[in-house]
């Protein structure tokens, strides 16, 4: 059993598990932090961005000045943003049988894998994962395609050039493999390969293994996966949460008794408690608006935003914010808000019961009804007519490199009355803000990450008791900024195996058994014999029939059946002749009794010698030697077949036959 690790990002995993005869890709995360090296794509022509000075090498060589621009001491690539793909060289993608997706954030690289690599398999995901994942991809494509950029920089990627660049460009990994965003056509094609599954549904893969998605409590439709054969069980835990937010709670019990537990997608901010962060978010929002400032919340169009809106729904009246408009701007804003209301079966119990009242499960429906929350596909069109300040704007993309958020940062960045509040934990807020410096706007960082923290992990591991834990290397040591916090790492026995990008791990367990079925008529013919209390044995003569990774023992065809001369002999009938088998023997020979028996049968002058493995019985008169060992008995006599047969029959008297 092997694990191919294609992504180095612990929360955007992409791994391939080879288990029995199947090749299973676990998640397909796309590392978008690479885009932080690029200049933002402004929706409206930005004089500031277009007038940034070019950056040239120390030797004054200016051939890079079209590609690299400098802003407040940082160097950015002036080009269409590119993404860092999972490793595609490590394994031939056409051999991948299935891809299991655990949540909509972990499927963003799917088009890169399913298109143009020869992949012919199936992708499994839950319905909300597919639908919301589609929204995220649609938004991404839209953000990038609506601001066409003529230039595509590639000179800087040259290894010899990259060496000379300042950090972080210098240290960027695998820049040659970075790719531009996929097209909508590729998205549609990739998503058409998805087969929908429900929680606890058992899916057979070629009869070899069974995969089952389990609720993971992190997002709508998010799942962990159990991959099991008859005797082995691998659990894949990715992006799980034990907090009570909108999704169905995590199913922990089904993870028990795993041989291997692959653990990814833990919280990215282990020291921040989501409750405290929500409080911080609300109070900063209120204070800014009170002072006449605007609040900008860079976010994804689905996920934590539902919880934030719910929290604000309860909060705005107490904070006197009832008259402040909330805008949600995304090409998929409408679909996201509507979708969330129709996936009732994937929601937590409280929200499910609301549906029967009937009420919309999320209160943002009421915010929209009362005109407190308005949503628009982009800043163009209706929005510009309705726009009223001070206001709160939720919009993407959290990387601040593309999407409507770029416009608002350019618009509001100069005033210290305004605040940008970062709630998504995926990007470092300082890096995200770098191309906007100097910035007068206030910045508040309250990352809300509801995924498991290390305390919860250690409880989970105690509860489900896996034999081995495998996790990204980042989880096996404290975070570099807090190296004394030994509690911020996975602590389990035996220690977790760690992996890093482009590594192949041999998972530490061996398959020892395979299940074989016996046909009923064959089973009927067996005559088990009890050889020890509780253990019975029977010999089986049969034909082992293997198809679709299922092994079946069938009765052997009758050997006496004469083949009809006229009919042509079929290949399947051509089975080896079954010889009449000698019975099998079992038991041990008690030497003393054996000697007594020999004496009874007229042998005299018997001598017994003990050897390391058993005994030797010497019949000196007959010049014969009987060697009795644990698993063999030999009668050595010179050409006296009669004597040998006599002795053999005496030996056989002590053994059981079947």
């Amino acid at each position: 059993m092997k694990l191919y690790c294609l992504s180095g990002h612990p929360t955007l995993p992409c791994n391939i598990l080879k288990f029995k005869s199947t090749t299973i890709m676990l998640d397909c995360g796309l590392d978008m932090t690479s885009t932080l090296n690029f200049l933002p794509l402004p929706l409206v022509q930005s004089p500031r961005l277009s007038n940034l000075p070019s950056w040239s090498l120390k030797d004054g060589n200016a051939y890079l000045d079209k590609e690299l621009k400098e802003c407040s001491g940082h160097v950015f690539v002036d080009s269409v943003p590119e993404f860092c793909l999972p490793e595609t060289e490590l394994i031939d993608m056409s051999t991948v049988d299935v891809i299991l997706i655990s949540n909509y954030h972990c499927m963003m690289a799917l088009p890169y894998i399913t298109e143009h690599t020869g992949f012919t398999g199936t992708v499994y995901a839950t319905e909300p994962t597919l639908q919301i994942g589609r929204l995220l991809m649609e938004e991404l494509v839209n953000f990038i395609e609506r601001v066409p950029k003529a230039q595509s920089a590639s000179l800087w990627k040259n290894k010899d050039v990259q060496r000379l660049l300042p950090s972080p460009l210098k240290d960027a990994v695998e820049v040659s493999t970075w790719r531009r965003c996929y097209s909508m056509q590729e998205v549609n094609s990739a998503l058409s390969k998805i087969q929908l599954v429900g929680y606890s549904q058992k899916i057979e893969l070629f009869g070899a293994v069974q995969v089952t998605p389990l609720s993971s409590g992190y997002a709508l439709g998010s799942s962990n996966w159990v991959i099991q054969s008859h005797y082995e069980k691998v659990s894949y835990v990715s992006g799980s949460s034990l907090l009570t937010t909108h999704p169905q709670p995590m199913d922990q019990a089904s993870l028990k008794n795993s041989d291997v537990l692959l653990l990814t997608g833990l919280t990215q901010i282990p020291t921040a408690n989501p409750d405290g962060m929500v409080g911080e978010f609300c109070s900063n929002l209120a204070l800014t608006v009170r002072n006449g400032g605007n609040v900008l919340v860079p976010c994804y169009p689905s996920g934590v935003i539902y919880d934030l809106l719910e929290c604000l729904y309860q909060y705005i009246d107490s904070a006197g914010l009832s008259n402040v408009p909330f805008y949600f701007i995304s090409p998929v804003a409408n679909s996201s808000l509507e979708f969330s209301q129709i996936f009732a079966e994937w929601l937590c119990h409280n929200k499910q019961t609301k549906v029967y009242l009937p009420e919309p499960p999320f209160p943002h429906a009421e915010l929209i009804q009362t005109n407190k929350l308005k949503h628009y596909p982009s800043i163009h069109g209706d929005f510009s007519n309705d726009f009223r300040q001070p206001c709160v704007v939720f919009t993407g993309h959290p990387s601040l490199r593309f999407g409507d958020v770029v416009h608002f940062l350019e618009l509001w960045g100069k005033s210290s009355l305004n605040t940008v509040i970062f709630t998504e934990p995926d990007f470092s807020y300082l890096d995200a803000l770098a191309p906007y410096q100097p910035l007068a706007m206030k910045c508040i960082y309250c990352p809300i990450d509801t995924r498991l923290n290390f305390i919860q992990v250690s409880k989970l591991l105690k509860e489900v008791q896996p034999l081995h834990v495998v996790c990204p290397e980042q989880y096996t040591q404290p975070p570099p900024t807090q190296s004394h916090r030994m509690d911020l790492m996975i602590d389990c026995q035996p220690p977790a195996m760690s992996y890093r990008r482009a590594e192949v791990l041999a998972l530490p367990f061996k398959r020892r058994y395979e299940k074989i079925e016996i046909m009923p008529e064959l089973a009927d013919s067996l005559v088990p014999m009890e050889i020890k209390p509780g253990i019975s044995l029977a010999t089986v003569s049969a034909v082992l029939h293997t198809k679709d990774n299922k092994h079946v023992l069938q009765p052997p065809p009758r050997s006496t059946q004469p083949t009809s001369g006229k009919k042509r002999k079929r290949v399947s009938d051509d089975i080896p002749d079954c010889k009449v088998l000698k019975p099998l023997l079992s038991g041990s020979i008690p030497v003393e009794q054996f000697v007594q028996t020999l004496e009874k049968h007229g042998f005299s002058d018997i001598k017994v010698e003990d050897t390391a493995k058993g005994h030797i019985v010497l019949l000196q008169e007959a010049e014969t030697l009987i060697q009795i060992e644990e698993d063999s008995t030999h009668i050595i006599c010179d050409n006296d077949e009669m004597l040998r047969v006599r002795l053999r029959d005496l030996v056989l008297k002590f053994l059981q036959k079947f």
Partner: protein, 821 residues
């Protein structure tokens, strides 16, 4: 005994003895026992039984066990004990062999009823009451009760087991004190036989090696030494001490808590405290061999002793300081530099206990912090008190909890992980830090204290309860700083701190969690009360949004927050710090003046707390002569009294009457005092008629008269006091003439009578001064006051009422004239 009760008693006894009429209410029986106990304290039990033979019958009825419910059986056992506490009555009951029947081997012991814990408990309590005189001791021996008591020590019911242990102590003490034995030695012969059997039992238990038995024996000893301070207790200890000290020699002491209790009980007893027995040595030995968690309570007990050798106190104090020393050492850059007693280095068990798990670490630190806090508050706290080191250790603990400590050592790293976001320790440490504000510290430590407090106030990770503690601790430190520096000399820490504080407060006042908003408002109220007058404070406060935010919280969805906001706004306004109604940033918004806004809350808020707070603010303002009240005072008061008199919450009405009292006092002016060195009055004293007219105009009189017949007693009482004051000042004997025959007075009186009868709808009529005087004179205010002074259930609590109730409950009184209170 009340003759009426005597009359009811036979019927009651018959009911109790009748198995067909089960008594379902246990509390009645308890009350009945309490009553008998009170009666026998003053009267002769013998006489009581002779005069009320029904009682003896009831007791004998209990001997027919199969007919009696376990409740009545338990009751009878206890009742018999109460009567038999007097020796002559004991003899009387003995003659009928009643006691032997109830408590002896032929009693309930062998019956199924014995399985009911209340019966066993009744048996013990009966004996407890009875075991007061020498005849009782003989009785106990004769009826074999002592062995039963031994076995009840291990009873499955904890109440029974504990009572058995108490009884054993009582019997032991009775047995020894009954004899004038000059000397009790170690030989069996010196001890009275009953005492001997008990001591033998204790010895056997201590030797048994079984934890439950040892614990029971130790408990008996603890109670004995706690209760009896005669010299025989010393002899008892001499006999048993080798067995007890043996327990300390084991690797782990299983009965540590009981042992600590025992030694402390001895140390508090004058018999041992002064004697030359080696109690102090034993205590020192115990301290050193118990685990850190077990030793804590013992150390605290030792430090609380009045008489105790200094060396032992030092050792005990070290035990309490050690966990904090460990924390300091773990955080120290250089090992051994903490200055507290050696922590981790010399005491590995302490480090083990701290680093074992979050729960054990939290338990130990919380215990240590709580004990030290308790000690600090004592008048004889340990000296020298290591204030600086405690400050440092507490600050360091808080930093470990918040994750802001960056220790170098591996122990520090582990401690960091264990304590990270441990709310329990955070709360305990903040509490203790607040207590430490009573002492001072060097500049450096105080700076650290304020820094950590600010960190906690600021951190989004602080839970609401932790934040509340942080607010409390901050307030204590600010107070102590200002006390230390004097009001004219601003303290160097306070001002910069306050500047940092208000941005934090702004954020807290906007928090989505209502508990946070509430505690921030409370904190603001305290701050303003103390520093509202200081220019720096005023400047910092007014530069922030805090006043506006506070005003906005008057509309909070949570009632507690609204109430706190009302109080805070009241305080801000008293100091002239509230937001001006027409702020430039909200030109369009409808703005009410603060008094109008509060009046609005008083009239319309659905919850009681904000309305009560409003009344307190109004009272405070009126007392202080706040300018908001001064303009158009009469009209405003009239509105307030009108609204408050209709309020459904009695506390609000009481507050309203308090406001009325202040208003009345101010209208009347200071009372004439013959000895006052009076300055010539600036304004001539108002005439009584004028006063009454004013009171009429502001609707105070109508409110007060209405409140006089309020169905809630405190309201009526308060109103009665108010009217008495008014009468004394406006209608004393002579002066203003009343108008008894005035037709208007008749109308008013009729209305009042109707009100008293519950018809509050009737209009009162015009209250001209003459009519008021007349009414005040006619009303029997003193009588009303006396009636109201009696608690509302004084009738219902009488024994007669109890007996009637019990009879009524089973329908034995005929008809249903039950007192349905």
């Amino acid at each position: 005994m009340d003759p009426e009760c005597s009359r009811l008693l036979p019927a009651l006894c018959a009911v109790l003895a009748d198995p067909r009429q089960p008594m379902t209410d246990d509390t009645c029986l308890e009350k009945l026992l309490d009553w008998f106990k009170t009666v026998t304290e003053t009267e002769s039990s013998l006489l009581l039984l002779q005069e009320n033979p029904c009682l003896v019958e009831l007791l004998s009825q209990a001997l027919k066990f199969q007919d009696v419910s376990s409740r009545i059986l338990s009751f009878s056992l206890r009742l018999a004990g109460i009567f038999a506490a007097q020796e002559n009555c004991f003899q009387f009951l003995q003659q009928g062999e009643l006691l032997l029947g109830l408590f002896g081997e032929a009693g309930p012991l062998g019956l199924p009823a014995w399985n009911v814990p209340s019966v066993r408990s009744g048996w013990i309590q009966g004996l407890c009451s009875l075991a007061k005189h020498p005849s009782a001791e003989q009785f106990l021996v004769d009826c074999g009760a002592v062995d039963t008591i031994f076995s009840l020590q291990g009873d499955s019911s904890l109440f029974v087991a504990s009572a058995a242990s108490q009884l054993l102590v009582q019997v032991l003490s009775l047995s020894i004190q009954g004899r004038a034995t000059p000397h009790l030695g170690s030989s069996d012969g010196d001890w009275p036989s009953c005492a001997q059997s008990i001591v033998g039992y204790l010895e056997e238990s201590l030797r048994s090696g079984a934890t439950p038995q040892i614990t029971q024996a130790l408990k008996v000893l603890t109670t004995t030494f706690g209760r009896c301070h005669h010299s025989w207790t010393e002899a008892l200890w001499m006999r048993l001490s080798p067995l007890v000290t043996c327990l300390l020699e084991k690797d782990t002491v299983p009965t540590a808590h009981s042992l600590a209790d025992l030694f402390l009980s001895m140390a508090r007893s004058p018999t041992f405290g002064s004697s030359d027995c080696d109690l102090w040595v034993t205590l020192a030995q115990t301290l050193s061999c118990l685990s850190p968690t077990q030793a804590g309570p013992l150390a605290l007990g030792i430090l609380k002793l009045h008489v105790c050798p200094q060396a032992l106190k030092t050792q005990a104090f070290d035990v309490l300081l050690q966990p904090l020393a460990c924390v300091l050492e773990a955080a120290a850059q250089v090992p051994g530099s903490s200055g507290l007693p050696d922590g981790t280095g010399s005491n590995p068990t302490m480090a083990d206990a701290l680093l074992a798990s979050t729960s054990s670490c939290a338990a130990l630190l919380c215990q240590s912090l709580a004990h030290l806090g308790e000690l600090q508050a004592l008048p004889h706290s340990p000296r020298p008190w290591p204030q600086v080191l405690l400050l440092e250790a507490t600050v360091m603990t808080l930093r470990f909890c918040s994750g802001s400590a960056v220790p170098i050592s591996s122990v520090g790293g582990r401690l960091c992980g264990i304590l990270a976001s441990c709310i329990r320790v955070q709360r305990a440490a903040l509490d203790f830090l607040g207590m430490l504000s009573q002492g001072t510290g060097p500049q450096e430590s105080v700076t650290q204290v304020f820094a950590i407090l600010l960190e906690y106030l600021r951190s989004p990770e602080s839970s609401p309860t932790v934040l509340k503690k942080a607010f409390q601790a901050t307030l204590r430190w600010l107070l102590s700083m200002s006390k230390a520096c004097g009001s004219n000399n601003p303290d160097p820490h306070t001002q910069p701190f306050l500047r940092e504080l208000f941005p934090v407060m702004q954020k807290r006042l906007c928090n989505p969690c209502w508990e946070v908003r509430d505690s921030a408002l409370e904190f603001l109220t305290h701050l303003t009360t103390h520093w509202g007058g200081q220019p720096d404070f005023r400047q910092a406060l007014l530069a922030s949004d805090v006043p506006e935010l506070t005003q906005q919280l008057l509309q909070d969805p949570e009632a507690y927050v609204r109430a706190s906001a009302v109080t805070a706004m009241g305080q801000l306004a008293s100091q002239g710090l509230h937001a001006t109604p027409s702020g430039p940033e909200h030109p369009g918004a409808k703005q009410k003046s603060l008094p109008q806004e509060l009046l609005h809350i008083l009239s319309l808020d659905s919850e009681g707390f904000p309305r009560r707070a409003v009344m307190q603010v109004f009272t405070q303002w009126l007392q202080d002569g706040h300018p908001a009240m001064a303009e158009d005072l009469e009209q405003f008061m009239a509105r307030v009294f009108q609204v408050v008199s209709r309020d459904l919450d009695w506390e609000v009405r009481v507050q309203g009457l308090e406001l009325a009292r202040v208003f009345l006092a101010q209208t009347l002016g200071p009372p004439d005092c013959p000895y006052a060195v009076a300055l010539p009055a600036a304004t001539p004293p108002t005439s009584p008629a004028e006063v009454l007219r004013t009171l009429g105009r502001v609707q105070l009189l109508e409110f007060a008269f209405r409140a006089l017949f309020d169905c809630d007693r405190p309201v009526a009482q308060k109103s009665c006091d108010l009217l008495l004051l008014l009468r004394a000042r406006t209608a004393p004997g002579g002066g203003l003439q009343g108008a008894e025959c005035n037709p208007e007075a008749v109308t008013v009186e009729a209305a009042l009578r109707a009100w008293q009868a519950g018809e509050q709808g009737q209009p009162l009529g015009e209250l001209v001064p003459e009519v008021v005087v007349a009414i005040l004179r006619t009303l029997d205010l003193e009588g009303l006051q006396a009636t109201l002074a009696e608690s509302s259930d004084h009738v219902e609590q009488s024994p007669r009422s109890l007996l009637q109730d019990m009879l009524a409950a089973v329908g034995a009184l005929g008809g249903h004239e039950a007192d349905c209170y």
